[in-house]
Amino acid sequence: MSVDAPTRRAVPSAAAAGAGNATKARPRRAAGRRLGPGRPVPYGWAVGPTLLFALWVAGAAAGLIDPRALPAPWTVAATASDLIAEGRLQEHLFTSAQRAVLGLLFGVAAGLLLALVSGLSRGGEAVVDGPVQIKRAIPSLALIPLLILWFGIGETMKVVTIALGVFVPVYIHTHNGLRAIDNRYAELAETVRLTRAAFIRQVVLPGALPGFLLGMRFAVTAAWLALAVVEQVNATSGIGYMMELARTYGQTDVILVGLVVYGLLGLVSDGLVRLVERRALSWRRTLAG
């Protein structure tokens, strides 16, 4: 009430100042009260990276950045084209991609299989879910010493490490998707007398697909992370090895080329998963697209 009183007293004076003023002020106040973030900035996603890149270019050109700490962008570009001309970059990239793809393949297969076993039957859940949760508590990368003793320092150890990092998010999100199927759909399936197999095929699996694809996005990230680590441990080829070697010679430009390649790989693979997501989940798109 005490807040109200001065406002009420202020009204006549505002009216005295002129009706035109009052009507003008009103929409401006309404806009000020809006709490949403407002309209998106066109090409907003590119603003931050462009600024950062510009800063790098300007700093390097003005000689403000020590080239041993961070070489100029054109130096990095020249090094990259040299590495490509010598064929070394492609070679390392091929090795790295092979490891990542193999690890991803085995990891996704294992995660999906275990999620189905544990998501579709209570018995399966009792057996599978506990060990997976325990595995989840242990960082995959902490298993590397053990895996080296088991599998040696060859390709098997690397692929297994990547697969172990990949299967957890696939399992977690797919299992969650399977368990989160709305019970109303189960009722519907009963009233139209779907068989159990048809229920799983037509209701459960499509319903869990969004969860699986979300898990895939995390899995791809996990695969690159594990790759970067295993390639710096006892590797003789691959992007990570190339960077590790560059460190011993103080070639910052080569390290940067490696980082750019990792970044591009991450972006491209995430884009691929999103593309699949858009295709497979087109039923979720509303009229607005």
């Binding site: 109303r184 759909y185 009722e187 519907l188 399936a189 009963e190 009233t191 139209v192 007398r193 779907l194 048809a198 037509q202 209701v203 499509p206 319903g207 697909l209 989940l281 087109s282 039923w283 979720r284 798109r285 509303t286 009229l287």
Partner: protein, 294 residues
């Protein structure tokens, strides 16, 4: 539909002394009910009277529920839920023929979609439809199976008033053509009178009233006999009409768009002077709400 088309038909549903309990509380308490083939029965009741429990028992969806008593219901039952319950990842046609095992399933699905006015939308996704359209697809999904018994659990409860009027007409037309026995659960007295051959009132797990609807079509709110039947049903639902204002308090058991109908409808006992004018001269919007295509 003035007479009872199903009066002499064999019983599609036969219920004897049905009991269903939840946590020791008897939700259905020795219920007796018969629904004959082709008969349209509306089941009225307040919240918690056991309407949905009865429906779920008939649909065989009440697993792990304590109960006893005799229940005979046909194998081919279809259910229309309050939400359309379409699978969002299936196109309309696939939703309609879900679980339908017939060589001509797709053809029948197309025909069913055409019947509910959605021909040409076979490949649309459920999210692209309005609430009323989704409920029409759900009707098509139920009727494409040619069920002997159609169960509907407040199927129009979530729709706006205008859409509901159109759905009433559509449901009458479809039921007249396919002739299933229908058990429609509703809390809307006007909806029950507009649609059913017989109105059954459920109270505390038992049948409190079982009244035939002997009204000529179209069943308008002002037609002779309409107000009397309405008042009797409201009385069985515990709505005391002698006190002004009591009607909207007790009768509006949820149900959007319920209030205005109650206000405008003439009451036998006659209450406030302002309402007098309503007797014998129903407002136009109310009349159209009650109109049923013959």
């Amino acid at each position: 539909m003035a007479s009872h088309p199903g009066r002499l038909n064999p019983a599609a549903v036969q219920i004897d002394g049905l009991v269903r309990s939840f946590a020791g509380r008897r939700v259905l308490d020795g219920l007796e009910l018969t629904v004959r083939d082709g008969e349209f029965v509306a089941l009225l009741g307040r919240s918690g009277s056991g309407k949905s429990t009865l429906l779920r028992a008939l649909a065989r969806l009440d697993h792990d529920v304590d109960g006893e008593g005799g229940l005979t219901a046909p194998e081919d039952v279809s259910v229309v839920f309050q939400d359309a319950r379409l699978l969002p990842w299936k196109r309309l046609l696939d939703n309609v023929v879900l679980g339908l095992r017939a060589p001509d399933a797709e053809e029948r699905g197309r025909a069913a979609l055409a019947e509910v006015g959605l021909a040409g939308r076979e490949r649309a996704w459920p999210v692209e439809l309005s609430g009323g359209e989704q409920q029409r697809v759900s009707l098509a999904r139920s009727l494409v199976r040619e069920p002997r018994l159609l169960l509907a659990d407040e199927p129009f409860g979530a729709l706006d008033a205008l859409t509901r009027i159109r759905m009433h007409a559509l449901l009458r037309t479809l039921c007249a053509r396919h002739r299933p026995a229908v058990l429609l659960v509703t809390h809307d007295v006007d909806e029950a009178i507009a649609l059913a051959d017989r109105v059954v009132v459920l109270d505390r797990g038992r049948i409190a009233a079982d009244l035939p609807v002997d009204l000529p079509a179209p069943r308008r709110a002002g037609a002779p006999g309409h107000a009397e039947l309405r008042d009797r049903l409201l009385g069985h639902l515990g709505v005391d009409l002698t006190e002004p204002g009591a009607e909207t308090d007790g009768g509006a058991d949820g149900g959007p768009g319920h209030g205005p109908n109650h206000e405008a409808a003439p009451t036998a006992s006659g209450d406030g002077p302002g309402r007098r004018s309503g007797t014998g001269d129903t407002p136009a919007h109310d009349r159209s709400a009650e109109e049923i295509p013959a």
